[in-house]
């Protein structure tokens, strides 16, 4: 049984690709056979975050148009045996991707016995985002604790409830999860940032993960390593927890409380 998961957000720059890279890597590390697809046609980026940019020969659109086989286009991850990446095309032709084309590729991946297919959605609510979510069974909605990101996510939730195959056929709905990124417990404690509970209350979603704001995300992307593999860091642990929850585990949230300050810090600020 293959599960199709879309990683989406509406707003750009909130961490969709970072999240797609880490969740797919995390699932593969648990022994699952995983394909992660970059749906951002024209703006290929997942390959860079996964560190396989120099091995891209064929892309998603090449497969759809029959220029190559799916096997030729799937890039096998260097670190994990069961992880495959399908790069976005860099064509400027937005019509290169079609619902039928996407269905064909997904069906082939399902026939190949993949456990999970992650669809890394482009920003916005245009065609690319629609195609990325259309066949999804589940959605990971990536949100920053910030007003525009939360509002855009709510738009995306509206689309998930109406413009997906499950919604149109009426055979159940896409299961939605909230993943908060760039979370700063210190700023939440100071009343400067929306808390997990605030965002959860506004959007009405269950939380699959809270990723703390951290310099480790940039250094991982600089190196082309999914940040979940930077063992021992809070971000890595937070993404690992999210993977466990995707697989059905119930874990308490970590990295959501501000570290206790010492006496001097409290008196003199800092």
């Amino acid at each position: 049984m293959t599960e199709i998961i879309v990683v989406t957000s509406g707003k750009g720059g909130v961490g969709k690709t970072t999240t797609s890279a880490s969740l797919s890597t995390g699932l593969a590390r648990k022994g699952k056979k995983v394909a992660v697809i970059d749906f951002d046609i024209g703006l290929r980026n997942l390959d860079l975050i996964m560190g396989c940019e120099r091995r891209v020969v064929y892309d998603f659109v090449n497969v759809i148009q029959g220029d190559c086989t799916l096997k030729q286009a799937l890039i096998k991850d260097k670190r994990l045996e069961t992880l495959y990446i399908l790069a976005a095309s860099q064509t400027r032709d937005k019509d290169a991707l079609t619902l039928e084309g996407v269905r064909k590729v997904l069906d082939e991946l399902i026939a190949e016995g993949f456990d999970y297919i992650l669809c890394d959605s482009p920003a916005g609510i245009e065609k690319g985002a629609h195609l990325a979510m259309y066949y999804a069974d589940r959605a990971v909605v990536v949100v920053n604790p910030e007003v525009s990101s939360v509002r855009d996510s709510d738009r995306i939730l509206g689309l998930l409830a109406s413009k997906t195959e499950h919604a149109e056929k009426g055979d159940g709905r896409v299961k939605e999860h909230l993943l908060l990124t760039r979370y700063s417990p210190r700023r939440v404690a100071a009343g400067e940032m929306l808390s997990v509970a605030d965002v959860q209350e506004i959007l009405g979603l269950d939380v699959i993960g809270v990723i703390p704001e951290s310099a480790d995300v940039l250094s991982a992307s600089n190196a082309g390593t999914p940040v979940i593999l930077n063992e021992g860091t809070d971000v890595s642990n937070a993404y690992s927890d999210a993977v466990e929850r995707l697989l059905g585990a119930e874990l308490p949230l970590r990295f959501v409380d501000a570290p206790k300050k010492g006496f001097f810090a409290r008196v003199f600020g800092g």
Partner: protein, 85 residues
């Protein structure tokens, strides 16, 4: 927070953000799935009503209900209380 900060305390911005989001999200959910003209209709209705009564920007609510093949457009306008009006 240090001693000096105690003297310049402002209301926490997160609670302002939450309140603003609560209102706008509720409003946008109300018109979701309805015809595309709903937001414009709402805005124009608000303008007309404001010619006569001073109402809040979120006083007009537009909602489409679907019941057994027919659609019902529901409008509600909350007028200001006696004291405010």
């Amino acid at each position: 927070m240090g001693l000096l900060d105690l003297f310049k305390r402002t209301p926490p911005s997160a609670s302002v953000a939450k309140e603003r989001l609560r209102i706008i999200v509720a409003q946008e959910r109300g018109t979701r799935g309805g015809p595309d003209y709903l937001p414009l209709l709402r805005r124009e209705l608000l303008e007309v009503i404001r010619k006569y009564v001073k109402v809040e920007p979120d006083a007009v609510k537009v909602h489409v209900e679907r019941e057994e093949g027919q659609e019902v457009l529901e409008l509600s306008v909350s007028l200001p209380g006696k004291a405010a009006g």
